[in-house]
Structures are given as structure tokens and as C-alpha cells.
């Protein structure tokens, strides 16, 4: 029976080569996982501008997931290393906004790891359920006033 348990909203940034294909594989393999994550395809996890993450939180996301190729397997050689370096800095920033760093997940999913992809979504959904709703958009000023697109520094 469906209960009124909290259903977090997750924005996922999946790299086109490994993680998006991995998510596809999870689908074609009929692996069950929570529908809470809605994916956005980017060419590389290195394309994920920190502004995207902050914007997602500002627009009401409870969690953001960034998934890329395993270290060493990046289609663009080193893009995932850039992501790997940006995320810890971004987590620092989020903490200053009062957002738990746990709400941002960076994971590596290869194209053949449909099962791992599903497992990661399950874990992340559980984590966010534990943390509860973020409601960042409601508690702060309206998104357009915050005007993140213009001011958030690139990391």
C-alpha cells in the first residue's frame, strides 16, 4: 500500500557515455528502482557546472546526483577528474547555504553497470528520505531574485 512517506525529488546529471547508458541498461534489464530521480543527459560529468546544482536546489530539488565514468575510463580522458575536483568544493559551498552536503552525490557508473546505477538511486533516495524535504526554494527568496545564474561562481 502506498503510504504518505516522503518522496524526495532528485535531479540527476548523467554523462552520456557511461552513466546514461548504464541507466539505459537498468531500464532494458527491467531492474526496479525508485522513480524519484529524473535524469538530465550531459556529454560528460565534467560539463556539470556548479551553477546547475545550486539552481536545481533553488528550484526545489531535494538532492542532486552526478554520475560519470569510472576514473580512468572517461570518454574524454579526464573530464570525470574535473568533476571529482569540483564536487568537494561545491559541497563546502552548499554547507554555507545550509544545505547538507549529503544531498549532493557523485558516483561512478559504467555503461555495463545497470545494477549499480539502480542501487545508487535506491541508496540516495533512502538518504534523502532520512534527511527529509529541503524546501530551499520556499525558505529563501524567490529563485529569480536570487539570480544564481548570474552570480554563482564557477568552481
Amino acid at each position: 500500500m502506498a503510504t504518505d512517506q516522503f518522496e524526495p525529488r532528485i535531479v540527476g546529471f548523467l554523462c552520456r557515455w557511461c552513466s546514461y547508458t548504464g541507466a539505459d541498461l537498468a531500464g532494458t534489464s527491467r531492474i526496479q528502482y525508485p522513480p524519484n530521480m529524473t535524469p538530465i543527459r550531459v556529454m560528460c560529468s565534467g560539463r556539470v557546472d556548479p551553477t546547475f546544482v545550486v539552481q536545481a536546489f533553488a528550484e526545489g530539488a531535494d538532492g542532486v546526483m552526478i554520475a560519470g565514468c569510472h576514473p580512468g575510463d572517461c570518454h574524454y580522458d579526464v573530464g570525470n577528474y574535473r568533476a571529482m575536483r569540483r564536487v568537494p568544493m561545491l559541497k563546502n559551498l552548499l554547507e554555507q547555504f545550509g544545505i547538507s552536503p549529503e544531498r549532493l552525490m557523485l558516483t561512478w557508473v559504467s555503461a555495463s553497470e545497470g545494477r549499480k546505477f539502480a542501487a545508487d538511486v535506491v541508496t540516495f533516495t533512502e538518504t534523502l528520505r532520512r534527511l527529509g524535504p529541503l524546501n530551499f526554494a520556499g525558505e529563501t527568496k524567490a529563485t529569480d531574485e536570487l539570480n544564481l545564474k548570474e552570480t554563482a561562481p564557477a568552481v
Binding site: 538530465i40 556529454m43 560539463r47 539552481q55 528550484e59 574524454y76 555495463s112 545564474k149
Partner: protein
């Protein structure tokens, strides 16, 4: 496929299908086959790939005609990979008779430790294996290439090679030293006189002072290079310490004479009774007589003193003098109760010599324990055997005299072992106040030796080191006197015969360089540089049976006389001992094949070649590996002789295979019952989860072949029968009608523990028959394990190099499981065959054709379409910070130094967008993935 015998379901011959295809490929003008090659790196993109390929050295040039003469003479045997280890192949081999291209190659794995440890780098594995093959003459040739003293070193060498022999880590090291003696003695017994090497005189003259092992080796090397060499020897017989120090019962004089004479046969002149110095020959004399260079190989002739009270007493004598008198004059003053101080070979030799010249009791006084004695182990044992007493952990502190001024006692301090010193041996420490007295009337001091150089250091060109040895460049052997080189014990301090030889060789090399191009810096750089080849220092062969090392026979008539104590191996012993060699390095570098090859096609110095080739498309068809059934020990593979892997059974069925097509057990019987176990490793959560697709059908093929060849009862243990292909179900029906027993249930175990009389001497397959609902024990003579197909062990590595996707230990991933089964995520790279997933031959061929078609489409079109997802930079907004330049993995961003802004080179940009994410001013955008587009997606996702 070339390894298979028959293919299913048509039962036609694999070779008949494959061979014409292989020949066609081999002869096609547009196909360049690069075998023994490896892709090291890939760069570029579809239509414009650059592949870096390493062509491993095959050590055989294209002149090879494939006659196979080299194989006949190669002594090194290894399990054949093609025959699944059921047959041996040589180190020079071709994979199989129909191989394309039909070339031979030599397998070199590295430098064997025996050769690496040997001070003169004798190609040990080479001669050991030649002995194993009975080719004694060539074995000697290999030895003599670097060592003019096989018979001498075969008797007295301290054989460091044996300490590193990899066989020693399994049971006991190969008796390398004794094998060398065997071939040397064999030659003598056969009455064969070795031919001297051919030399071409170069008109230059070199003087060598001293005829010990260092001087003789230097003379030998130089004479072989064409120099006119004269040796000046102080005594009336040549040989240095080999003659004056080593007693005849270890090294008979005729053996030594024979080997020295052989060196002289190379045109070396020997001048006896010619010491260096004012009474004999001086360096000025040599220069005036036209010698271009001089090598000093003076050796050590002075005994070191203990520096204790009473050392000057009559009766105290140095071992060098003692042994010299015994060995050169056969007469030496010897006491009744002799004591010897020291623990090295000189001490043992002195003790054993004293017994032979009238001593009634001989005692060795050594300050450490037996374990620390530097003498050769076998010599210590022999000395004990002959009755030499040993006092350990005592150090002489005073020589005591009696009434008539004669030596009567040695007073010794008791010692214990302390911390290890720099030589790694534990340092003896005195125990205060505890002494013993050893009664003796003659004390031989054998603690260490020094060179006698007083006459030489008067000349200011020569200097002594702080160890009182002659100073010479450690790399080039040069002394302060131009054109004079020094080597041997006079430079290094007391060493062994083989170490002195190594030093002599170094001096000879230095002289050769000095007298040719004179580039001594080159020698300084290169002479002691270790080789680039890997050292074979971790060769372990699990399951290798233990074979005892042959014992060196002793001369029953020798007694305690001057007759030689040890004898050579018998021929049977030598061959058996040589066969214990693990052949660590693959090829032994014996180079017998070089002589056997008429075409001169063998080049042992060949190097790997790395080349870069331009290609437009790549097809990956690297195949699969068979599941290693050792991972499932319950099936007994590797433990029971008659448990075979599927590929082993394929080879067994093949007419050219190890049994010439006979299906027989290890002991040669035709089996009465055979079990075939399906799904070994496949469909198993602990091993390979996937179904390997081909095992059911090849198991049916095996069942048919067993029935057809032997008429034995066949039992197939299967989970369920997967006969999905064209003609497969029909083949299954045919087998059902042929009378094969099908037992539905995965076999649990194979054992040889019989519970019933009819199980005696059989292998028993235990498993549940799920159709009958009962457990079964089936006694059989042979078990075939139908192992699954798994990705090649290095698939991960190749995936990384080619930027393909595959999870660790998984097959390569195709672009789309349905719509793009031969494409990969990288345009222009295609997959074919079992590297993409387990499949049968028809599917592999179909996929190969599809991949070829994919590549042909690219070729035919002649141009490729790139994705438009590139980045661009807005000139107006760019601040010129250059961060994007560091972010771009492809160097696709240029900096315009005039405008001071960054620009994207569209042709190079691959569209990852990393620069966009990192641009602080928001000047960079990515087509199709602009910030605004993604923001809109975020909004859409969250609305």
C-alpha cells in the same frame, strides 16, 4: 577455432573450414598481418585513428623459410600452449603447423637468475639444457664462449648461480657446477681436444703480468679479439692461486695444465720466472718492447697477520706460503698437531693439505660459527669427513711457546655472536675472561691475504686503497699510469676464481676500448649497467613433482691422498640432473639454432619495434578465454589425470594432436565410460553468471565423438539443454537416439574414493538426477569439463587503451544491445566475435561480416560526420583568463595573443563541455548543451 577438431552440429572438420580462410587472408595483397603484436595506445577519431602497435621481437627475420632445422637442435622445452600443455614445444617454435603466417619465433622471457648471478654471466641455462639433450659438445662451446676454464671451475667454483636457481625454491637447486665439470670431463674422456677459436691478429701487443685466473682470462679475451698477448709469470708454473692455493686433490694438475694450454693455443705467449720489478721485467721494458697496453693481474701473495703476541714464533706459518710449498714443490714442513686459523676455503684447503703431509691431528680455529664460514659447504663437510676438528667461536689472542722456543699452544678468547656487520654476518663479540688453549706445534694462519705491492708504489703513478689493495678505476680498471690497467685480487682483495675471471674480463674490455676508439667514458657508463630484460626471479611452478638432486660421486680410492676426491657425474646422472632445470627464461640463449640455420635468419639481438599506423576504422575481435576449472576444485581438474578441460579433449580428438586422435586415458587405455559435465563455471553465481551458449552443443559433439571413437558409455550431466540454433535441436535428438545417457542435474563432485567394488580405480561423478529425484554415483574412466567462455584476462586493459566500455571482468560492451550490436560507443570501432559475448561460430562469423560492413560503409562514404556538439567562446565576454586551456583534454583551445582571448578549434573539439563548466566569465557555451537549455531542463524536471 584452429584448436578445435570438429564443429557442431554438422561435425565437419574445423581445420577444413578455417585453413583456406587463413591462407586467403595471409596471401591477400591488401592485408598486412601483424602477429606477435600488441596495441599500446590509440588516439584520434573515426576516419583518422592513430594506433601505436608494439611488434614483439620474434628473433627470426623474414628470411626464415620455415624449414624447422632450428627446432631440431633447440634444447629448451616448454608446454605447448596450442596443445593445451599436453605436448612440449621448443623455445623456437611456431604455434601450430598450419599457422599463418607460417613463421617461427623464439620465446625469450628474460634473464635467468643463474646467468644473472654468475660474475662472468655464463649462459648457464643454455649449457644445462644442451646437456639435458645430450649435446655435450655444444654445451662446452656455450661455456667456453665466456669461460676458458670449464673443468677447473666445474671443480672449484663457489657457484653463486646455485643459490639463485629457481628450482632451489621448490626442492633443491640444479647442480650447475657439477654439470659443467661433467661436460669438461666428458670431452677429455672422449679424447677430444678442443679447437681454439679462430682469431684475426690486429697487430697490437698487450702484456699481462700474472697468470692467475684474472690474468689468463684477460689474455684469453684479448687473444680472441686478435691482440698479441704475452703473459709474464713470477713462478715457474702458470695458474696463480689456482695452482699455488688450490690443492691437487680438488683440482688435479693435468686438468689445470690442459686448460691453460688451451688458452695458450690462441697464440698467447707465456714467460715464466719473470716477476714484475727490477729483477724481472719493468713497465719501462714493456713500453720499449712495443707493448701498447699492460694489464696488472698481480693477485694476493702476502698473508695477513693476526697482530698478536708470539706470532713470530717458529711453527707459525701463513697459509699462502704453506700451500705454495705443498702445491708447487710437493714438500712442506708440517707439524704433528696442526691448527689452522680461519674459516674460508684457504683454511679448509690448508687443513686438508696438512693431513696429507703428515699431520696427525688438525684443528680449525674459527671465531664465528659453522653457518658463517665462507668456505664452500661441500668442502667443509669433506674436511670433517677426513677428521679435521673444528673449534667455533674462539679467537686466537696469543701464541704460546714452550721451553725450547717452539710453539706449543694457541690461547684463544671465547666469543659469542652479536649484531650483524656490514657483510650481513653476525659479528663475533668476546666473552670477557673466558679462554681456552689449543695444543699445537704448528699454526697455519688463513685469515686473509693482501697483494704485495711495495715495489710498485715507489712509482708515484700507483696508489694503494685504504684496504692496501691497488687503486684502479672501478669501471675501466685504469691505474694512474697511462696504458696500464689493473684487475684481479690485487685490486678487489681476496675473491674467488670466477670473480677474478670477471675482473680480468673487465680489464680486457677496457684495454680493447682503450686501443680502439678510446671512449673510456662509454665504458664507465655502460659496463656495469644492468640489462633491460626482466630478471626471472620468481619462477614458481605449482604442482611440480619433487625430484632429488643427483649426488656428486666420490672417488672410493682417493682416501686421504693427493688423488682427486670428487668425481664427475655419470652420463645418466648428468642428463637426469640437467632435466631438473625449470628453463625459466624460455630461450636459453645457447645459440645452437644460429649454426643450424642455413639462411642466417636468426637474430638473438632483435628488439621490439613500435610503429604508428593510420587507420580509419578498427574491428576488435580478440576472442575469449576458457574458464579455468581449477577454480572449482571439487571437479578435480589438475588433481586427477583423467579430468580434462574441453579444449584438451578437442586436441585429443585431433589427428595431429598429442594422442594423434586417440581418445585414451593418461595410462593409454581406451575408456569404458566417460562423463561430460555441462555448465562448468557458467550459469554459476560464484563464477560466470552468463550462459556460455556453446557448451551444451559442444558437449553433445564430444558425446558423439566418444561414442564414435571408443564405443564407451557416455553420461552427460546437464542443467537444461540449450539447443537454440539451426540444426541444433535435431543434433540433440540424434544424440538421444545414439544412446547417450542424459542426467539432468549439475554434477556435485568428482572423486576417486571408491565406495563400491565396481568403483575401484575409477573416477566417480556424484550428482543429483533431478528427473529421477535421486542421487547418483557414476563410475567413469574419463571426465570432460565443459567450461564456460569468459572475457580475456587483459580485456580491461585493452578496453582502456581503445576507450571501449566493459565492466571489470566483463565482455566488451556494444553501443546498443538491439540496434547497434557491432558498434561501440566510439565511432569507427566495431566488435566481432566472442570478445563481445559468448557465441557460437555462425554468430561470430555473422558479427564479423557485420563489423566489416560497418567499416566498409565508412570507407565507401569517404567522409565522416562528426557530432555538432562543440564548444564556442564569445569573444565579447571572454576575459582571457586561460582557465579553459588547462581544462581542455584535447588542446582544442588556442589563445589569441593579439586579442588576448581564447578560441575553440572546432575540428579538434570533441564536445565534452568541461571548458564550459569551468569558464568563470560565462563566455564558453556548448552547442546543444547551453546553460540555458540545461536550466530549462532542470526547471522542467522539477515542475
Amino acid at each position: 577455432m584452429a584448436m578445435f577438431d570438429k564443429t557442431f552440429p554438422t561435425l565437419d572438420c574445423a581445420a577444413c573450414i578455417l585453413t583456406p580462410k587463413m591462407v586467403q587472408v595471409g596471401q591477400h595483397p591488401n592485408i598486412k598481418l601483424m602477429t606477435l603484436s600488441e596495441v599500446e595506445a590509440l588516439s584520434g577519431y573515426v576516419g583518422n585513428f592513430k594506433v601505436q602497435v608494439r611488434q614483439h621481437a620474434r628473433y627470426i627475420t623474414a628470411d626464415c623459410t620455415g624449414c624447422g632445422e632450428c627446432v631440431e637442435v633447440c634444447p629448451c622445452e616448454h608446454p605447448s600452449e596450442f596443445e593445451q600443455g599436453m605436448n612440449q614445444r621448443r623455445a623456437v617454435y611456431r604455434a601450430f603447423p598450419q599457422a599463418v603466417p607460417n613463421w617461427y619465433s623464439i620465446e625469450k622471457r628474460g634473464v635467468p637468475m643463474c646467468e644473472d648471478t654468475c660474475p662472468i654471466h655464463t649462459r648457464t641455462q643454455g649449457y644445462v639444457n644442451l646437456i639435458a639433450h645430450g649435446d655435450y659438445a655444444n654445451a662446452l662451446k656455450v661455456i667456453r664462449d665466456v669461460n676458458p676454464f670449464p673443468a677447473t671451475l666445474g671443480r672449484v667454483c663457489h657457484h653463486p648461480c646455485e643459490s639463485e636457481c629457481q628450482r632451489g625454491f621448490h626442492d633443491e637447486p640444479v647442480a650447475i657446477c657439477a654439470l659443467k665439470r661433467f661436460v669438461a670431463d666428458w670431452e677429455d674422456e672422449q679424447g677430444l681436444a678442443p679447437e681454439p677459436f679462430k682469431t684475426k691478429p690486429n697487430g697490437k701487443k698487450v702484456a699481462v703480468i700474472g697468470s692467475g685466473p684474472a690474468g689468463l682470462t684477460a689474455a684469453y679475451d684479448l687473444a680472441r679479439k686478435g691482440y698479441g698477448v704475452t703473459i709474464f709469470e713470477k713462478y715457474d708454473k702458470p695458474g696463480g692461486l689456482m695452482r699455488t692455493g688450490i690443492p691437487a686433490f680438488r683440482l688435479p694438475r693435468d686438468v689445470l695444465d690442459r686448460e691453460i694450454n688451451w688458452i695458450l693455443d690462441h697464440g698467447v705467449e707465456l714467460k715464466l720466472n719473470s716477476p714484475l720489478g727490477d729483477v724481472g721485467v719493468t713497465l719501462d721494458d714493456l713500453e720499449s718492447k712495443g707493448y701498447d697496453a699492460t694489464i696488472l693481474a698481480l693477485g694476493t701473495t702476502k698473508g695477513k697477520a693476526l697482530g698478536i703476541e708470539g706470532e713470530e714464533l717458529p711453527g707459525v706459518v701463513n697459509c699462502l706460503e704453506y700451500l705454495r710449498n705443498a702445491n708447487l714443490r710437493d714438500e712442506v714442513e708440517t707439524g704433528k698437531r696442526v691448527s689452522v686459523v680461519g674459516g674460508g676455503n684457504a683454511a679448509i684447503d690448508s687443513a686438508r693439505t696438512a693431513l696429507r703431509y703428515g699431520a696427525e691431528e688438525v684443528t680449525i680455529i674459527y671465531r664465528r660459527t659453522r653457518d658463517e664460514m665462507p668456505a664452500i659447504g661441500a668442502e667443509i663437510i669433506a674436511a670433517e669427513h677426513e677428521g679435521v676438528k673444528m673449534h667455533f667461536l674462539v679467537n686466537p689472542v696469543e701464541m704460546m711457546d714452550g721451553v725450547d722456543g717452539q710453539l706449543t699452544k694457541v690461547r684463544c678468547q671465547k666469543m659469542r655472536l652479536g649484531e650483524p656487520d656490514e657483510s650481513g654476518r653476525r659479528r663475533p663479540v668476546p666473552i670477557e675472561g673466558e679462554f681456552i688453549e689449543v695444543e699445537t706445534d704448528q699454526c697455519i694462519l688463513a685469515i686473509s691475504q693482501l697483494p704485495d705491492l711495495d715495489f710498485l708504489v715507489k712509482d708515484e703513478d700507483f696508489d694503494l686503497t685504504k684496504w692496501a689493495t691497488l687503486k684502479a678505476d672501478p669501471h675501466t680498471c685504469e691505474t694512474g699510469h697511462a696504458g696500464v690497467f689493473a684487475c684481479g685480487d690485487a685490486v678487489t682483495g681476496p675473491s674467488t676464481v670466477v670473480e677474478a675471471m670477471a675482473s680480468g674480463r673487465q680489464a680486457a674490455t677496457a684495454v680493447d676500448i682503450f686501443l680502439t676508439d678510446g671512449d673510456m667514458d662509454y665504458m664507465r657508463r655502460e659496463y656495469h649497467r644492468p640489462t633491460d630484460l626482466p630478471k626471472m626471479d620468481n619462477v614458481r611452478q605449482p604442482g611440480l613433482p619433487t625430484v632429488k638432486r643427483e649426488e656428486i660421486p666420490l672417488n672410493p680410492d682417493a682416501g686421504i691422498t693427493l688423488k682427486e676426491v670428487e668425481l664427475a657425474f655419470t652420463e645418466e646422472q648428468a642428463v637426469a640432473e640437467a632435466k631438473r632445470c625449470l628453463v625459466c627464461a624460455g630461450c636459453s640463449d645457447c645459440r645452437v639454432c644460429v649454426d643450424a640455420c642455413d639462411k642466417g635468419a636468426i637474430d638473438h639481438l632483435m628488439q621490439d619495434e613500435v610503429s604508428e599506423i593510420d587507420v580509419g576504422a578498427i574491428i576488435v575481435a580478440t576472442g575469449f578465454e576458457l574458464f579455468d576449472s581449477r577454480e572449482m576444485p571439487r571437479y578435480g581438474y589438475g588433481r586427477y589425470d583423467n579430468v580434462l578441460s574441453s579444449l584438451e579433449f578437442e586436441r585429443m580428438c585431433h589427428a595431429s594432436g598429442p594422442t594423434e586422435g586417440k581418445i585414451i586415458t593418461k595410462d593409454g587405455r581406451a575408456p569404458e565410460a566417460v562423463a561430460i559435465l555441462h555448465c562448468v563455471g557458467s550459469r554459476d553465481e560464484n563464477h560466470l553468471e552468463h550462459c556460455s551458449r556453446v557448451c551444451c552443443m559442444y558437449s553433445l559433439k564430444f558425446a558423439h565423438l566418444v561414442l564414435d571413437h571408443t564405443g564407451a558409455e557416455v553420461y552427460n550431466f546437464y542443467i537444461d539443454m540449450r539447443a537454440f540454433g539451426k540444426g541444433y535441436e535435431e543434433f540433440y535428438k540424434r544424440l538421444l537416439n545414439e544412446g547417450v545417457h542424459f542426467i539432468r542435474g549439475k554434477a556435485a563432485e568428482v572423486t576417486n574414493v571408491a565406495e563400491l567394488p565396481e568403483e575401484e580405480g575409477k573416477l566417480i561423478v556424484i550428482g543429483e538426477d533431478t528427473l529421477l529425484g535421486m542421487n547418483r554415483r557414476v563410475p567413469v574412466d574419463m571426465v570432460i569439463l565443459s567450461g564456460g567462455l569468459k572475457p580475456r584476462a587483459d580485456a580491461d586493459e585493452l578496453a582502456r587503451r581503445l576507450h571501449l566500455s566493459c565492466m571489470q571482468g566483463d565482455f566488451f560492451l556494444e553501443k546498443h544491445p538491439k540496434l547497434a550490436p557491432v558498434d561501440t560507443a566510439t565511432d569507427g570501432i566495431f566488435l566481432a566475435g566472442a570478445c563481445q559475448g559468448a557465441k557460437d561460430i555462425p554468430d561470430s562469423v555473422a558479427q564479423g561480416a557485420a563489423a566489416a560492413a560497418g567499416a566498409l560503409v565508412l570507407v565507401d562514404r569517404g567522409k565522416v560526420v562528426l557530432e555538432p556538439i562543440t564548444s564556442s567562446i564569445d569573444d565579447e565576454v571572454c576575459s582571457g583568463c586561460k582557465l579553459c586551456l588547462q581544462n581542455c583534454p584535447y588542446d582544442a583551445i588556442e589563445f589569441d595573443t593579439e586579442k588576448k582571448i581564447s578560441k575553440i578549434v572546432e575540428e579538434l573539439c570533441k564536445g565534452c563541455g568541461t571548458c564550459v563548466a569551468g569558464c568563470p566569465s560565462g563566455a564558453a557555451t556548448q552547442q546543444g548543451f547551453e546553460d540555458d537549455q540545461i536550466f530549462a531542463e532542470i526547471t522542467g524536471n522539477l515542475s
